[in-house]
């Protein structure tokens, strides 16, 4: 049958085309699925330390920020600062958010590093890119649909959609229906 040949060619070639993105979406899917248990985008290190607030007395603005950064050994680029209240100063440097209690010298640092590779996969998966990527992702979704449909008709006979395939496809439908019945 000629249509089956074309079906199989479409299935094969779409499979090759979708491989990369499917792997990315699969890995990111697992990562994001467990967001309640871990941070899929960043490794965050929180450090609490104490500095002597004495030398900071009388300092303001850039001098105060520079002195604190020197005291904690931070040399990354400064993005900005914010006075939460008379006691607390927040300093933002690249990959580190620092909160200082100017009264007792307590310093909280929140250092963040992106999870290399995974961050980029999540970036695409959750469509943070928007713009043209939205349409690429739409095309990918359509391709996945075609892959699924053409996949049903790749084989003939007892392992095809009229035999074993029918049972497995049926189970595939029942799984989401069961969970909808269970949780909805």
């Amino acid at each position: 049958m000629k249509w089956r040949r074309w079906n199989n060619i479409l299935h094969r070639d779409l499979g090759y085309l979708c491989f990369g993105l499917t792997i990315i979406y699969a890995i990111s899917g697992i990562a994001v699925n467990h967001i309640a248990d871990w941070n899929p985008n960043y490794r965050i290190e929180r450090i609490q330390s104490t500095i002597d607030p004495g030398p900071l007395a009388g300092l303001n603005g850039d001098d105060l920020v520079a002195s604190i950064l020197t005291l904690i050994g931070e040399s990354a680029e400064i993005k900005g600062s914010y006075r939460q209240d008379p006691e607390h100063l927040q300093i933002f440097v690249v990959n580190n958010n620092i909160t200082v209690n100017l009264k007792n010298g307590t310093v909280y640092q929140e250092k963040s590093r992106t999870r290399k590779g995974l961050y980029e996969m999540n970036f695409l998966h959750i469509n943070h890119a928007k713009k043209l990527w939205t349409y690429v992702a739409d095309l990918y979704a359509i391709a996945l649909g075609l892959l699924a449909i053409t996949g049903l008709f790749v084989l003939r006979g007892k392992n095809g959609i009229t035999g074993r395939g029918a049972w497995l496809t049926g189970i595939g439908f029942l799984i989401p229906i069961f969970f909808l019945w269970l949780y909805l």
Binding site: Y42, N97, S112, I126
Partner: protein, 153 residues
Amino acid sequence: MTKTVFVLLISSLLFCVPAFGKTYGKGVHVTETTPVSAILANPDSYLGKTVKIEGLIIEVCSKRGCWIYVAGDQPQEKIQVKVTDGEIVFPMSATGRVGTIEGIVDEVTMSKDEMVRYQRHLAEEKGKPFDPASVEEGKRFIRLIGLGAEINE
């Protein structure tokens, strides 16, 4: 040779540093900026309205990027911008950057117990100590439901 080039190409696609977009969600379309101080001083007249605010981003939800705090135009003033999980994800790198945010003014009223739970959750997430005694009473929160943002990253 072809194989090496192919592997290098795939690797570079996966691990290159992407040019991250600076526009989030639906972007910002409201032309007039509303000072945060005006919203906080008279929230009832802004509730349900779509506004644009501007300010330094002083905190980002490190877990899901689903909220930020924006410093107001008056000292020690800030407002939370909450976005739908996954719809907009603010990166950690947004802290310390100036952002323009469009959103709907919203209110959340919390009892004292709810406030304690909320503050404890925030403290745990940030790895900071929390003293329940620091919460004296419930509170009415004025926040924005974020629709879009532009961040000067």
